[in-house]
Amino acid sequence: MKTKYIAAWILAAGLMAGCGDKFLTVNPETALSSNNFFTSESDFKQAVNATYEPFRQMYNERAWVLEEMHSDNTYYARNVLYGAVDPTENVADFAVPTANGITANDNVLVQYRLNYRIIARANQVLAKIDGVDFDAKSKANLKGQAQFLRAFAYFDLVRLFGKVPLHLVPATGRDDAPLPLASTDEIYAQIEKDAKDAIGGLYDKATQEAGRVTSGTARMLLANLYITQKKWGAAETLLKEIVTSGQYTLMPDYNDAFSYTSANKNNKESLFEIQYMEGSAGYNGNQIYRFIPSPITAAEIAPITGTANPQQTSQESNNIPTPDLIAAYEAGDKRKDISIGYVTLSGSAVENKTYPYIKKYARPHAIHQNTGQNWPVYRYAEVLLFLAEALNEGGKPGDAATYLNQVRTRAGLAATKAASQADLREAIFKERRVELAFENKRWFDLTRTGRVKEIIGAYGAKVKANPAAYYFPKGAVPPPNAFTVLDDYYGLPAVEAALTPHF
């Protein structure tokens, strides 16, 4: 009797122990895992969408620091009430502390990581998309976007750093997370390959959903690469394809080339824009708030932002147009007043209390610190200027002037007087500066033409000689190490260097 009870108890306990593996397998309910993802067209579409996502942060926070304020186009205006913001000021001051090719600068780190976030997401798509069967055209278009985005990110990296690790397949663990630095040529070759593949697969602007990259965007990227590599003939061919495609044209008014917070996005002039959306959903930008000089009162900010709830801000004032840039606009250039406005700050420590600010991004919007206009990456105006440059460098200055003048005409300017190859080179260089001001082009124009030391050297001397003209309060001067680091490339980020054996 007793034995029976004991046996039953043991049996019952034993039975419950039997179903171990099933009992112990608990799958996450509110997240998918990579085992059951990447199985359908919809999955790949979502994965491609996510590949675009890092751009929002990149162009809102960092790209303009490294690619525009790190030039003679913009500077920062110290708000003494806010204190020092070293990492950003160091970039503007050409004083990024760099040792052995490594820097601890935060802007460099974030820009680097955001680019690799794009690359890793593109790699996930590209590694798996061929293994899943769905509509060939759609697949080619998705694949093309992933290839473009990977190439675009590498193109940014190679121009910022020269050498970076080249990841082309997803990392699986600790061992393959760090890779050796690839040479500039290896990275260029990969960008060229990806961009060419992308041109083949991507829809054109007429077919593609607005805001996604197109075959035209991929041609522009590849042309940009060739221009950087001084492969003028190859660039000319691609740029002409864009011009003759008939899908792009200059907006009649320069002011309309840039989107408003809801209207005019991805217009006829646009080849690629970083997409933002105003509202509380979290897809907004706030660039203009990063650019407005401060301390600024609610009354002073209201006319600039046009919001219903203007609020004072007190922050470091960055990306303030330099007197040099303002002087670079020719008399009668319509673009000047569209691009640059002025504001007087009652609370400023600067003597005349008046600052220029980037007006072309100050579009009316509803909510304080919440803007929705897109950020221009490639515009048709740049296609024309690149084409002019490619033709001029290819020994066809006459043809070049035609394209340059298209841009000048819209700006209300007369045809260029430059005729020689050298004069035209300078004219195009200068036209790019004002046409593409604040579009993160200036730094790369300086590096690819080898003019950093020449131009920034002179600019630095002017800042030091007359700090008040560069928005320093009375008695304040640039730090002693300003304009001491005039290299073409940034150092690689220190935080990443600490994690990889390769640099």
Binding site: W9, A17, N27, T30, N49, T103, R121, V164, R212, A281
Partner: protein, 1084 residues
């Protein structure tokens, strides 16, 4: 057999008998089966001789009672030096025949102090036996059973509820402060019901939790015990070494806290009522001393003057603020009441034992609008269905309501932190006596962080939590044959937690947010459900009354599920209707960090884990003198990678009761001595539920034109081999009793190594991932613990001292491959050094003169006369913060050199007095608010010490022509630098982490003083009554200057990183109040 009788009447009987922890199975079964059936062979009979065959001359009669007057059956009464003896009967009455010449009677009983009474002429000798709380015959609850304290071979410490009864606090862990060797308990915040950090043996882990496992009546609960009514607790046992904890396997590495709740006590029905009421107040001493309004205005005036700038009108005449100070911190505080009522009913009828504890606790916080209430009930019942089968049910429902203003945290969240920073010239009340809405001094005065009214924030924000909890157990136990016990248990734990936050448009707790602001509501609910099934078999047997065995085997399964959801909404047209439908926006994107809740704004989800285990233990002793235990648990867990699902956790321990050896009998001063040693392997499975998987997040959305497109990305790398953290622990201990156990000493040394740390190994983000979850690295821990109990006086005046001291050390042996250090904002964890050390530059004072500036290492462009001077650690002539030429170094530690506790209890007649304190020595805190309260740019209110800052007058440099700090006005007192030259210069002192921010946080806190008086009984009303007065958090002896609570330690530094790697940051949390109470204990 007689011993059984004694044991049955001891206070431990009821509890043991009802919970049946089984390892004393045989004896207990005996109790259950009736005394005649017992052969209590796992107990060791005292040399008690019963004899009546001597011719007697007279009869002595009497009654034996305990301290409380309760009759004591089964007490042995022996005439000293003879074999004459007897035992008291069921009414505690005895009768003994003794020779006419008299002698001395010895009264002894398990659990009571033995007493000798010389016989006089009287023929009636009534006697009261005192309880021996520390008796080595004590039975202690251990994992999956209980053991005679004498025979325990692990490092185990027990605290009885009687020792804790008068302390007026809401949480049991607060009561334990200072009581336990090797257990550091810090009250990191004064928020009622929150913030107790319990660390056993200095436990830390990089990412897995460090909280011990709490086991209530055998049920490992899934949360903390912060909300448990302390009055439900009978006793608490802390298991410290691996041998004691290994039966908890993969959850044991942080130590285990076993809680036993009250059971039906023997004797007839007992009813007791305990109540206290009191007031709480935050002492002035210890608060951060800030500038008052006049001093602040004076500071601002001097700041402008020193820089040769125009003084803003508001500060031209500081004396106009004299007597018009606004103490924002004080304005948030109040004197608040605290009350507690508990009714306990216990009965022990034939075949049924039951106990009921009903409690009401109501604490108003010392911060405005803080309110904490708890209603709790516990019913423990056990039935004997037959002599062999018993069943039991425990049920403990509980309701907690908590509304706490957003007190803790930094600028974004904490009103206390923000209050410190608010200019004292800003009025709290307007001319009409109404609370101001928003203080905006003109920007020209340096007011760039405009301040909302914090009193409004405290009063008008809702931040409430409602918790419904239910803990239940049901078990059946069957004793089929002698020595064998089978037991099956089903435990359930259910918790529903509703959080509601509403920030109306009229107030805000975030700095620099204008009012009216955007109204925001957050609703968060979560439901936890956990069940556990345990099936245990225990078999006890003895051979020749010498070899005593106990064998335990069992199988258990546990499953936990949590479901949660949160809805965040904003922009309300009417603050009176904070409903979801009343909001204009439901907040879907981005992330919030409100009240410590962060993540996306509106979401829902679920968490689940499963655990399946086999356990086994063998206990053997030879004559209770040579002791041996071996145990093993195998845990299968859903958290472990699919290729690494099962972990095995074995342990073994030995003990030797030296005092039982013959040779020790010659040293009568040593009444007890036991040496013990143990070794075992335990684990920590707090590695997250789905850590092994590569997850895909589908909220990484993109925008195209005016359309939002769903985006999905792989967010983590998978690791199918992921497992638990493994700790191997060695323990050696010595228990000594001297002078008939008047002095008892317990010493332990431990050494443990934790390997396979769960570590989100940082990988370079060029991979697209930030980390890889792996088991990697090693930390070594070691330490010494000493506990001392001394009954200094045992006469009419009784004085007992309990003291303990613990030394815990750790050292990081290995991190991830290629990584020898991990940085936090203020911390570094580095191989070869202790965990989470403070890291920064070394402050060496200030540059006193042009000459010193010229001849010392400086920060180019940022050093001037009167700015902070750091040590050039690498000797390169330049001070560098970060990078390759870094001058930062380890500058301090959040870990104490030792912690200690001291309790003294006195009693005299009806009076009793108890004094408890706890302390910590050699640790430091990072004074987080100093970043802003000593911001020399004068944008916040400042610490009072800023009056004595370095002052220097700006002038024109004759060589360069630049305006700069030139002539010293006063060098100040060496703590704060000069204001001149603005942010680029003052920012170094403020923003560069250095020893400037560190403060010595050693303390000794007089935690509690209680004075009680026993009124005795009043017939027909109550049996006994006691009244007492108590003061909690009496006084903090400390040199700490950063805030009122040197025990504080934010888990996180308010700057993004958190957890174990960054302990010891003072974020100006809710202060711990001093509490005065009056209480009463009535027994009916």
């Amino acid at each position: 057999m007689k011993l059984m009788n004694q044991f049955r009447q001891s206070p431990y009987y009821g509890r043991l008998n009802s919970i049946l922890k089984l390892s004393v199975g045989q004896a207990l079964i005996g109790a259950a089966c009736g005394l005649s059936a017992v052969a209590g062979n796992s107990f060791h009979l005292n040399p008690l001789v019963v004899s009546t065959n001597i011719i007697a001359d007279r009869t002595i009669k009497g009654k034996v009672t305990d301290d409380t007057g309760e009759k004591l059956p089964g007490v042995s009464v022996v005439l000293k030096g003879t074999t004459i003896g007897t035992v008291s009967d069921a009414d505690g009455v005895y009768s003994i025949n003794v020779p006419d010449r008299g002698g001395v009677l010895i009264f002894s009983s398990v659990g009571f102090l033995t007493q000798e009474v010389p016989l006089g002429a009287a023929s009636t000798v009534d006697i009261k036996l005192a309880t021996d709380a520390k008796a080595l015959t004590e039975v202690v609850v251990v994992g999956y059973g209980s053991q005679l304290k004498k025979e325990i071979t692990g490092a185990v410490q027990t605290v009885k509820s009687e020792e804790l009864k008068d302390i007026p606090v809401s949480q049991v862990t607060q009561k334990l402060q200072g009581r336990l060797a090797g257990v550091q308990i810090n009250q990191t915040t004064g928020k009622p019901g929150q913030g107790m950090a319990v660390r056993i043996r200095g436990q830390v882990s990089v990412t897995a939790g460090s909280d011990p496992l709490y086991v209530i009546d055998g049920f490992p609960i899934t949360g903390t015990i912060g909300q448990m009514n302390p009055d439900e607790i009978e006793d608490i046992t802390i298991l410290k070494d691996a041998a004691s904890t290994s039966l908890y396997g993969s959850r044991a590495a942080n130590g285990v806290v076993l809680i036993t709740t009250k059971r039906g006590t023997p004797g007839k029905m007992a009813v007791s009522f305990n109540a206290y009421a009191g007031i709480q107040k935050v002492p002035m001493r210890g608060r951060v001393k800030m500038l008052n309004a006049e001093e602040f205005a004076q500071f601002k005036k001097e700041m402008y003057e020193d820089e040769n700038k125009t003084v803003p009108k508001a500060f031209e005449n500081p004396s106009e603020y004299a007597g018009k100070n606004n103490d924002w911190y004080d304005a948030l505080l109040r004197t608040a009441p605290i009350q507690s009522y508990n009714l306990t009913v216990s009965s022990n009828k034939e075949n049924m034992r039951t106990s009921l504890v009903a409690g009401v606790f109501n604490q108003k916080g010392v911060v405005l609008n803080n309110n904490y209430k708890r209603y709790s009930l516990r019913m423990n019942t056990e039935y004997d269905l037959s002599s062999k089968i018993k069943i039991g049910f425990n049920l403990a429902p509980q309701f907690v309501y908590d509304n706490t203003p957003r007190t803790d945290g930094d600028r974004g969240t904490g009103v206390l932190f923000n209050a410190l920073h608010t200019w004292p010239v800003m009025p709290i009340y307007d001319a009409n006596g109404q609370l101001t809405k928003y203080n905006n001094f003109p920007q020209g005065t340096g007011n760039i962080f405009d301040y909302p009214n914090w009193v409004r924030a405290a009063k008008e924000l809702t931040n409430e939590t409602r918790i419904n909890k239910l803990l239940g157990n049901a078990y059946v136990q069957y004793n089929p044959i002698k020595g064998l016990t089978l037991k099956s248990t089903l435990n359930v734990e259910q918790e529903s937690n509703k959080f509601f936050f509403f920030n109306p448009s009229t107030a805000t707790s975030a700095i620099n947010t204008p009012v009216p602001t955007t109204a925001v509501s957050i609703r968060q609910n979560y439901q936890n459900f956990s069940w556990l099934n345990e099936n245990l078999a225990t078999y006890t047997h003895s051979f020749n009354e010498k070899h005593n065995f106990e064998l335990l085997a069992g199988f258990t399964q546990q499953r936990f599920r949590q479901e949660f959801d949160r809805i965040t909404a904003n922009t309300y047209t009417d603050d009176r209707l904070p409903t979801i439908q009343g909001a204009i926006n439901i907040d879907r994107g981005g992330s919030f960090n409100v009240n410590g809740i962060s993540g996306s704004n509106t979401f829902n989800g679920a968490n689940e884990w499963a655990l399946m285990s086999y356990i086994s233990r063998l206990t053997y002793n030879y004559k209770g003198k040579y002791l041996f235990t071996a145990a093993v648990r195998a845990d299968g867990s859903s958290r472990f990678g699919s290729d690494n699902r099962w972990g095995t956790f074995p342990s073994a321990s030995v003990g030797w009761v030296i005092s039982d050896e013959n040779f020790m009998q010659s040293i009568p001063k040593i009444s007890f001595a036991k040496a013990r040693a143990s070794y075992g392997v335990i684990g920590n499975n707090n590695i997250g539920n789905y850590t092994q998987y590569a997850l895909v997040n589908n909220t990484t959305n993109a925008v195209f034109g005016t359309t939002v497109a769903t985006g999905a990305q792989v967010t983590s790398l998978s690791n199918s081999k992921l497992g638990w953290e493994t700790t191997k622990q060695f323990d050696a201990g010595l228990d000594v009793g001297l002078f008939n156990d008047r002095i008892q000493l317990i010493y332990d040394f431990y050494s443990k190594r934790t390997t396979n740390l769960l570590y989100a190994v940082q990988v370079p983000q060029e991979s697209g991932f930030s980390n890889y979850n792996d088991n990697i690295g090693e930390i070594k821990f070691w330490g010494h613990e000493v506990s001392l109990t001394s009954r200094n006086l045992v006469g009419k005046l009784k004085w007992t001292t309990n003291a303990n001291i613990s030394f815990n050390r750790n050292k990081v042996m290995e991190l991830a491959p290629g990584i020898d250090r991990v940085y936090g904002t203020f911390h570094i964890t580095q191989v070869g050094k202790p965990f989470g050390q403070f890291y920064g530059l070394v402050k060496q004072g200030f540059y006193m003169s042009k000459e010193e500036l010229a001849s010392s290492p400086i920060i180019p462009g940022r050093s001037a006369i009167g700015t902070i001077k750091f040590k050039d650690v690498n000797g390169d002539g330049v001070i560098t913060n970060g990078g390759d030429a870094d001058d930062r170094t380890i500058i301090g530690s959040p870990f104490p050199k030792f912690t200690y506790g001291l309790t003294n209890t006195f009693s005299y007649g009806g009076w009793d007095l108890s004094i408890t304190g706890s302390g910590s020595q050699g640790n430091q805190l990072w004074v987080r608010h100093l970043y802003s309260t000593a911001n020399l740019d004068g944008v916040f209110n400042m610490v009072a010490g800023a009056k004595d800052r370095f002052r220097v007058k700006n002038g024109v440099n004759p060589v360069t022509g630049a305006v700069e700090a030139q002539t010293v006005i006063t060098p100040g007192k060496g703590m704060y630098g000069a204001t001149n030259n603005g942010g680029n210069f003052t920012g170094v002192e403020r923003d560069w982490n250095s020893s400037h921010f560190l403060a010595n946080a050693s303390y000794f806190t007089l935690k509690n003083i209680t004075l009680g008086y026993n009124l005795g009984g009043i017939k027909s009303f109550f049996k006994s009554a006691r009244v007492y007065a108590s003061v909690q958090q009496v006084y903090v002896f400390t040199k700490y200057w950063g805030g009122p609570n040197p025990e504080t330690s934010a888990q996180g530094d308010g700057q993004g990183d958190g957890g174990n790697l960054s302990q010891g940051v003072d974020l100006s949390n809710y202060p711990v109040p001093r509490t005065w109470t009056l209480g009463v204990n009535l027994n009916f």
